[in-house]
Symmetry: C2
Subunit: 363 residues, 2 copies
């Protein structure tokens, strides 16, 4: 059975050029202390003067934009096929007039990159979400015709008001119609105030370990509460980082809905699809959770046949200069081995079989 | 084996009087539309004029302050013993000069309430955290001598700067010295902006289902990152709501620490106790997670012998007028039954045996 990585990012040269041309987050820049090192600044505040130099974004090298490095990484970690996606923050920040063309260019570039490595690369497309809805719908239709595209990657902002915004309905309808899966990925995290006055001492840990998964969980909960899946019963979503924390919180979420006086007064506690139904029907979870404790919860929530291996490459490289294999990748491999130690078939499904089936990969 | 509820709140009459005397959150008040109904407003913004009337706090009745109702609730749900605690926001909001006396009065009142029901009631004490550290330490020492006290309940604010504030060290030292467990409970949630422009349509769901557990998870992560458990190796903490989302996110938290360039540059990725060690040594988790998916993750993270049944009474009552048993309680009973269906001994531990052992209850 093949090993398929569904969570692996690429910054195609077009996109890196765009980031290098900008002066505010997100952008690529150098700092006076180290003028030869380009750093990728994507999270809000990462370039704040109070941020310690070691926490100002991350070094950006060819592993971000050179596809040959992606293939070498795949070979090193025995990954047969990668479903690559543009990394956050995608095109969320572009003016409306520029977004449509930028998305076309990036999607065509990425499709062409995939074509260079038959069977080894597929992709999730990028949507021009700051453009008018018809532009977005047009790109969804165009993506359905690109050979290597298998869905779209999307952040939690939607059109700027979150994924519970009714203005997204034409976009959800188009995705559902064309059977395009949404790979839902965090970027915005949580307001810095929640990390307290000492947050700078902890590097990127709190925004990445807490902010990202919590953002995803809140976004999915808002989709549920606004009835997205009651209106679009076949809309499929692949959640990054095993759902953020959704598997763990699903029970509390349902209990809070059932016990809410306001929802009850408005007849909204009953007659809706609940989160357990959605988890087993519309949601897929990547297996990027770095522990068997988390992965077992993901399995118990959605089923082993809905989990998909991922690496989050090129993020979380080993920090030791002499390291070859990536600890972050091996942590996720180990979690799969531990969770499915008595079920080879399920393990093979998570490692690749599920991705082949769900994304209709032609391997 | 007895059934022990470790997560159950009380508003002793002293505290209700205090809330009735106030004009801002937290307080008890009526609204013009319904002048006969007192409502308890504890979450920030719950009394905002834009908040729908059905979301403005919650009705407060004798179940909040009449201990006879607590006992009746316990009888209905076959709970032998409850370890009661003052509900959020405790005394966090009091001026420094008032906090010490208020804590004494409330702790003495609660201890006296417990004395009226021998074997049926124990309590976690309340600390005057806005008072000078020596006042807080004095109250910890006094609590150690009160017959029914078995630790302290604490929010995530600490002295106002979170639980990673070094100024808490004398308080942690006193708690460790007197072997007093901290019942760590959320209150402040997350800034309203994270719930988006439609949050009012969803009642209390997002702040309670997401904000509360996420607040707890961030607070514990900050304790870990600041080295609280490296300095206080015997400091024990019982986490509300099965740790918020800590069991699910522990793997990602460790991975983010190990891969953080800033922490690495400062020698902080190694030579520290990791979260798995803390989860199995210093942390206990209540079993208030409303699903077996969540409870299994809690078990896998901390061990079945560190999970403790709870109800969160008097919150989450059934909304149906004719309901007798509480669905919220039965959801947690069901999660325990499902998780430990093949291990009666472990189930009995979670239901009460662990609490008897850990809290040294004399039943």
């Amino acid at each position: 059975m093949p090993i398929v990585d569904v969570h692996t990012h690429i910054y195609p040269p077009t996109y890196v050029d765009l980031l290098r041309s900008r002066q505010t987050v997100p952008y690529v820049r150098t700092f006076p202390e180290n003028p030869d090192e380009s750093r990728l600044i994507i999270l809000p505040g990462e370039d704040d003067p109070s941020t310690p130099s070691t926490s100002r974004g991350r070094p950006i090298g060819p592993e971000y934009y050179d596809i040959a490095q992606k293939i070498a990484f795949m070979d090193l970690h025995k990954i047969d096929t990668s479903v690559i996606s543009l990394a956050n923050p995608w095109l969320d920040f572009l003016p409306a007039a520029e977004a449509g063309d930028a998305a076309k260019k990036i999607n065509d570039d990425v499709d062409a990159i995939c074509a260079r490595y038959p069977g080894r690369l597929y992709a999730f497309g990028t949507l021009p979400l700051s453009a008018p809805a018809e532009t977005v719908v047009g790109e969804i239709e165009r993506l359905a015709g690109l050979k290597h595209m298998r869905g779209v990657i999307m952040g939690t902002s939607g059109l700027g008001n979150g994924l519970d915004d009714p203005a997204l309905d034409p976009i959800y309808a188009a995705l559902e119609k064309h059977n395009q899966l949404i790979f839902l990925h965090p970027h915005y995290g949580l307001p810095a105030s929640v990390y307290g006055p000492r947050a700078n001492e902890y590097g990127h840990v709190l925004p990445l370990a807490m902010g990202f998964p919590l953002e995803t969980t809140i976004a999915v909960s808002r989709m549920l509460l606004s009835g997205v899946w009651d209106r679009f019963t076949k809309l499929n979503v692949l959640l990054a980082h095993s759902g953020g924390t959704l598997p763990f919180l699903a029970g509390r979420l349902e209990s809070c809905i059932k016990h809410d006086g306001h929802l009850k007064a408005h007849g909204k506690t009953e007659g809706r699809r609940d989160i357990w139904d959605i988890l087993k029907t519309n949601i897929y979870l990547d297996a990027v959770v770095y522990s068997d404790v988390g992965l077992r919860a993901a399995m118990n929530a959605s089923g082993a046949d809905r989990l998909l291996f991922g690496t989050d490459h090129p993020f979380f490289p080993p920090l030791e200069e002499d390291a070859e294999e990536w600890h972050s990748v091996n942590a996720n491999y180990s979690a799969i081995s531990a969770t499915f130690k008595d079920d080879d078939k399920a393990a093979q499904g998570v490692l690749g079989g599920n991705a082949v089936r769900i994304l209709k990969l032609d391997l």
